[in-house]
């Protein structure tokens, strides 16, 4: 636990100065403006919550995926990856702690989106279910860290993580209903979307910002947490396997 907290604190110190964080903070208001303008132009003020939820999840995921890739690349380029791996600490815990930090930081994108909706479009969104939203945000941040850690192991093997990072974003946003509910996707695609924690998080966030009662919030938050935990377990197993391989081949710094 202390290793997790140390990693989280370390990344929280680094993140505010990183270009990746700056990019999310700079782009979240623009994404909000894009989505809100579409809804407002069509006279669909009821879709304002969609325009707040999507930039939040997109920002968090971009940060999580970014750090999952850069973490390994940067440690490798600084020559500290071997030292990290040589220590008795579990690398997977360090990875998850650091990704968790940026996922939590990414929640600030929701505050930005909320402000853009209010100041820019005069749509001040109430939060009728603050506890559901708070719990969902925390579970989502944890799930994001767990899921993104799967990719870290992949990035150990790859010379450049950038292309994968660039390629994965939009297909995942589309599949998991980050902007619009999964019901708008073709029927055969929806079960795949349900396997991604983002689809549960997006629905929960939208419901928490809606006036109607949220149905089964605890169970849905548990699904987000469970999917995140599955991601972490898969990520940890993959990372251990990949590290065994690169150690045996002596290619840790070459790949």
């Amino acid at each position: 636990m202390s290793l997790f907290l140390v990693s989280l604190r370390f990344q929280l110190r680094l993140a505010p100065r990183s270009p990746g964080t700056l990019q999310v903070w700079a782009t979240a208001p623009l994404f909000t403006a894009v989505f809100l303008s579409i809804a407002e132009h069509a006279g669909r003020t009821d879709l304002t919550s969609y325009a707040i939820v999507a930039p939040t999840l997109m920002g968090q995921w971009a940060l999580a995926l970014g750090i999952a890739g850069e973490l390994i690349t940067e440690e490798r380029s600084q020559g500290t990856l071997e030292a990290m791996i040589a220590t008795p600490c579990r690398l997977s815990v360090v990875v998850v702690g650091r990704i968790c930090a940026v996922s939590l930081l990414g929640i600030t994108a929701m505050a930005e989106a909320w402000l853009v909706a209010g100041l820019g479009f005069g749509r001040w969104i109430a939060v009728p279910h603050p506890f559901v939203l708070g719990a969902a945000l925390l579970a989502n941040a944890a799930a994001m860290a767990g899921t993104a850690s799967i990719l870290s192991s992949l990035f150990v093997l790859m010379p450049s993580a950038r292309i994968v990072q660039n390629t994965l974003n939009y297909p995942l946003y589309l599949l998991s209903g980050v902007l619009v509910p999964l019901s708008t996707l073709p029927g055969w695609l929806r079960p795949f979307g349900r396997l991604v924690f983002l689809s549960w998080s997006a629905d929960l966030f939208r419901d928490a910002l809606d006036g109607a009662a949220v149905s089964g919030p605890a169970a849905r938050i548990a699904v987000v947490a469970l999917l995140g935990l599955s991601g972490y377990v898969i990520g940890a197993l993959l990372l251990a396997r990949v590290l065994r391989r690169v150690r045996r081949l002596g290619t840790l710094t070459h790949t």
């Binding site: 270009p19 700079a26 623009l30 894009v34 069509a42 589309l174 902007l179």
Partner: protein, 266 residues
């Protein structure tokens, strides 16, 4: 005898081709990049499906399909500032040849890739959303896509020159620039939706005009509606290129040479 501007652009372009080959294989471009861009078009168009507004899906699909070439082309900001990371910027500035023309050729692979991406989106995805083209419209669509890519390339070159001294911001600047274009230039909603100040500013962006022309082609409107916006698109593209050249020569290279800081502010 020093090489002419045309030679420099050509040498730069050869670099661009090599760079592109090092970045993508045809498989990773087709299934990775193109797949990603198709997903982006579907993502933004998806919001149109819940709007219950006639024509919304078609409007969004056309705008976002053309937008893919803008996204692709804006990578010029990253590759130009890459010269500094690679340590070759000082050599370029020190050489008797004008580095601006090297920069002009250096990232030409992005607008070419952009035209291919947007054409695939317009002709491949378009029909799913009711956007169909007759055979006689196809050359015009490709031409307007190419004009969009080249106009955006000039905007991107200007931004690249501006951030050449702060390369860590290259992705922030290029992403914000294309998102601002996506928001305000008529991609998602008509330009008239925005306040007058924004409407005036976006007239300086080539995309605003080329997209208007493309929508006119798609709606089978008269030739004047199609070719009218081409003039301001060309004009604004030329002005952005001039701005890039002037900014690099007088606001970046000369002060950095004098101060000897060309490689220090990274």
């Amino acid at each position: 005898m020093y090489p002419s501007a045309l030679h420099l652009v050509r040498y730069g372009f050869l670099n661009a081709v090599a760079d592109f080959k090092a970045t993508y294989t045809w498989r990773s471009w087709l299934f990775g990049w193109l797949g990603r861009m198709f997903a982006q078009v579907l993502f933004f168009t998806g919001l149109g499906r819940v709007l219950d507004q006639p024509g919304a899906v078609r409007y969004l699909a056309l705008g976002n399909a053309l937008m893919t070439c803008v996204v692709d082309t804006m990578a010029v900001v990253a590759t130009t500032s890459g010269e500094r990371r690679a340590g070759t910027l000082s050599l370029l500035v020190a050489s008797p040849a004008d580095p601006v023309w090297v920069f002009v050729g250096r990232s030409l692979h992005w607008p070419i890739s952009g035209v291919a991406t947007a054409s695939a989106a317009l002709f491949g995805l378009g029909p799913i959303f009711g956007i169909t083209w007759s055979a006689s419209q196809v050359p015009l669509v490709v031409l307007l896509t190419a004009l969009t890519a080249l106009g955006t390339y000039c905007v991107g070159l200007f931004l690249a020159v501006v951030v050449v001294n702060v390369p860590r911001l290259r992705n922030v600047v290029s992403n914000c620039a294309y998102l601002a274009m996506m928001a305000f230039c008529g991609v998602q909603v008509p330009v008239g939706f925005w306040p007058r100040g924004i409407q005036a500013v976006v007239q300086a962006v080539p995309l605003t005009h080329t997209l208007r022309a493309l929508r006119a082609v798609s709606d089978n409107r008269p030739a004047a509606d199609v070719f009218g916006p081409v003039v301001p698109a060309l004009l604004t593209a030329g002005l952005w290129l001039i701005a890039a050249v002037v900014t690099f020569r007088w606001l970046v290279a000369v002060p950095a040479r004098r101060a000897g800081t060309l490689d220090l502010s990274y």
